[in-house]
């Protein structure tokens, strides 16, 4: 009966973020929060495992004060207890800081048999949290998992690699990152939504994690965030012969250093 912990991130819904045309800056003032997409798959997978094998699912999140808004949602998806760390440091945290904080919390809360993460977050998509967590905790890591089977203490995972699938087996505690195709997250039912309000949640203060200041110092510093807008040149070559058009096109591409 595995004891599962799912790490999830509360991100802004990218659908609500607008790009300001004047300076390409992002306007997220009307953006609502959501559980990062792949993390929702991770919660679902843990819930499915526990429904089949028994055990328990807890969830853990590190974020700004907004992380509290996630509790009702995440607890309606099958988790029994939520642990949350709300700290301003999350605003600029890179994957290293996130993994440091989560690993420290897991040492405090654990041990767990299965630690599940989404493949990457909906906003930054660094795809680093799971492998970093595994390294910090000294556990094996199975990333990019599209199929997962748990039998007793044996975990069998099908990993999706660039040009092949790999099946790996691990015995004992493991960190896993899942892909979106692994399952279809449930839409919580009314009773699950109502039940979520009664489930326990516990705040962990970052100060109680015994982290050093450098653990919270991001190594990758974000300089700016800008929207991406494709700009087209809108050049049409209208010479009479195709050869001339091609010549003009290649000359134009060459002048841009593109061929």
């Amino acid at each position: 009966m595995p004891k599962c912990l799912v790490c999830y991130k509360w991100t802004l819904d990218e659908q609500d973020i607008k790009i300001k045309p004047e300076d390409l800056s992002l306007d997220s003032s009307r953006a609502k929060g959501k559980i990062s997409d792949f993390d929702r798959n991770a919660v679902e997978e843990a819930a499915l495992i526990v429904e089949k094998e028994g055990g328990a699912v807890e969830v853990l999140s590190y974020g700004t004060a907004a992380v509290k808004l996630s509790l009702k949602d995440v607890l309606s998806r099958g988790a029994e207890k939520a642990h949350w760390i709300a700290d301003p440091s999350a605003e600029n945290a890179d994957a290293a800081v996130t993994a440091n904080v989560l690993a420290a919390a897991i040492r405090k809360l654990g041990p767990y048999d299965l630690i599940l993460c989404g493949e990457g977050s909906s906003d930054l998509f660094n795809q680093q949290t799971a492998p970093r967590l595994a390294a910090l905790l000294g556990l094996p890591c199975l990333s990019f998992v599209q199929k997962l089977t748990v039998e007793g203490s044996t975990v069998t995972a099908t990993r999706k690699l660039e040009d092949c699938q790999e099946t790996a087996t691990v015995s004992g505690p493991v960190v896993i990152s899942v892909l979106s195709e692994i399952n279809k997250p449930r839409i919580p039912t009314l009773k699950q939504v109502l039940g979520a309000a009664k489930k326990p949640n516990e705040e962990i203060k970052i100060a109680d994690l015994g982290l050093k200041p450098e653990d919270l110092q991001p190594k990758a510093l974000r300089q700016s965030v800008k929207g991406f807008v494709m700009q087209r040149r809108n050049v049409v070559y209208k010479e009479s012969s195709a050869a001339e058009n091609v010549a003009k096109l290649t000359a134009s591409l060459a002048s841009e250093g593109l061929c």
């Binding site: 609502k32 039912t189 009314l190 939504v193």
Partner: protein
């Protein structure tokens, strides 16, 4: 709290549902508010103006907490012909004096706030939940069905909108009739506040509300425009039967309206951020179903087809709030479910909702006068053009010129008939 039984389940976190759940929760009732959208307001397409008295009725000063947009101080009526517009503009910065008369609102924002207020009062709010049906036992409604689950309550309040599925399931009324509703489309257009202020002659906190006729190609209907903070809500509502007969698509009529020079100038430089379509209860008192309750079941808001459209004033949100309040008061005051329906009807009377609806009960007769939506707006513009034209030629005598403008669009016989019909409808 018992897990599987509530005092009341309110279905739909629009204004009627939230007003009802808010009042019940405040009175200590164990209430569940269920919403289909992922957040309250996310499914809403409603235009944009709330008459503030209704919130005041619910709780004094509640409107001060609500995320309202601009206080409406300009009421404008636009009569359009092909390229021209005659606009009547009434400005009153003190409209409503102590309690402001009305505000423009953005429902996605307002509804989310309202649902949070319900939670703050101790009500349970569950969003992202689609209610599939009702549980009926011994002729009473005793709960709802959702996703294969049952949830029970002493009373279910249907606040599920104009196309009320629950009202139909309860057997109180059939599916909506096409003559009783209008089809509305609305677009939210973002525009910097300084442009809104300049184009509508308002200050930062003030706004304008505008209705327009003559923009529906003779089809019974009209357009509306509300100024919000940083955006404009622009929409058009019309009779779907007539539009179908003329084989006109709503999006084409709406696009033509937006391209009208007088409208284009107002929205130029804006960005369309939202577009939606919905049904609107349209025929007022006569559209309200005869039966709005059965034991364990009350119908409120748009679901009960509460709505008033005078051509100048379009009301629905205020009536929704008042009806939600009426239902809550009935539930609180009833010793058992048997008396609730009658008490609800009594509350609708006492809160003057019925009197308001009845006052305009024949009003939609006006909208059967087809010239109101084509001939008369054109007439007004032709008369204006005649009166304001200076070209150095010998002027046509005033009366003759005006008569010419009139005769182009209607005979005296038609005008007398229309006037009589209008008089009888008022």
């Amino acid at each position: 709290m018992a897990d599987d039984k509530f005092d009341a389940i309110v279905v739909g976190a629009g204004l009627a549902g939230s007003a009802c759940a808010y009042t019940l929760a405040k009175a200590g009732k164990n209430v569940l508010l269920v919403e289909r959208g992922n957040t309250a307001g996310s499914k809403n397409v409603s235009g944009g103006r709330l008459y503030t008295y209704a919130l005041e009725l619910l709780e004094p000063d509640l409107y001060k907490r609500a995320p309202l947009q601009r206080k409406i101080v300009r009421e404008q009526v636009m009569l359009l012909n092909e390229r021209g517009a005659t606009t009547i503009d009434y400005f009153n910065p003190d409209f409503g004096e102590n309690i402001p008369q009305s505000y423009s609102v953005i429902r996605a924002v307002l509804d989310e706030w309202f649902a949070a207020e319900v939670e703050a009062q101790g009500g349970m709010v569950a969003s992202g939940i689609l209610v599939d049906g009702l549980i009926e036992e011994n002729g009473k409604i005793v709960g709802i069905l959702t996703g294969g689950e049952e949830m029970r309550a002493d009373v279910v309040v249907a606040a599920d909108g104009v196309n009320s599925l629950l009202g139909q399931k309860a057997g109180l009324f059939p599916d909506v009739k096409s003559h009783a509703v209008g089809v509305g489309v609305k677009e939210t257009i973002e525009l910097p506040d300084n442009l809104i202020n300049a184009r509508f002659g308002v200050t930062a906190e003030e706004g304008a509300a505008r209705v327009a006729i003559g923009c529906t190609e003779g089809i019974s209907g009209g357009a509306f425009l509300y100024t919000n903070k940083g955006s404009i809500s622009l929409g058009i509502v019309f009779n779907p039967e007539q539009a179908a007969k003329q084989q006109r698509h709503i999006q084409d009529i709406f696009q033509d309206f937006k391209m009208h020079p007088a409208i284009q100038a107002l929205i130029e430089g804006g960005t369309s951020v939202e577009y939606g379509a919905h049904l609107v209860p349209e025929i007022g008192y006569q559209g309200i179903p005869k039966q709005l309750h059965r034991e364990g079941f009350l119908v409120v808001g748009d679901a009960a087809q509460f709505g008033i459209n005078t051509g100048l004033i379009i009301r629905g949100m205020d009536l929704a709030i008042v009806s939600g309040l009426a239902a809550a008061r009935a539930i609180i005051a009833s010793p058992s479910t048997a008396e609730m329906g009658a008490l609800y009807m009594k509350q609708l009377e006492e809160l003057l909702l019925v009197a308001n609806q009845r006052a305009y009960q024949n009003f939609h007769g006006i909208f059967e006068i087809s010239r109101i939506f084509g001939g008369y707006p054109k007439l007004a513009n032709d008369a204006m053009q005649f009166m304001f034209t200076v070209d150095g030629k010998t002027p046509t005598p005033m009366v003759k010129g005006l008569l010419r403008a009139v005769k182009k669009h209607a005979t005296f016989g038609q005008m007398i008939a229309d006037g009589w019909k209008a008089y009888r409808s008022l």
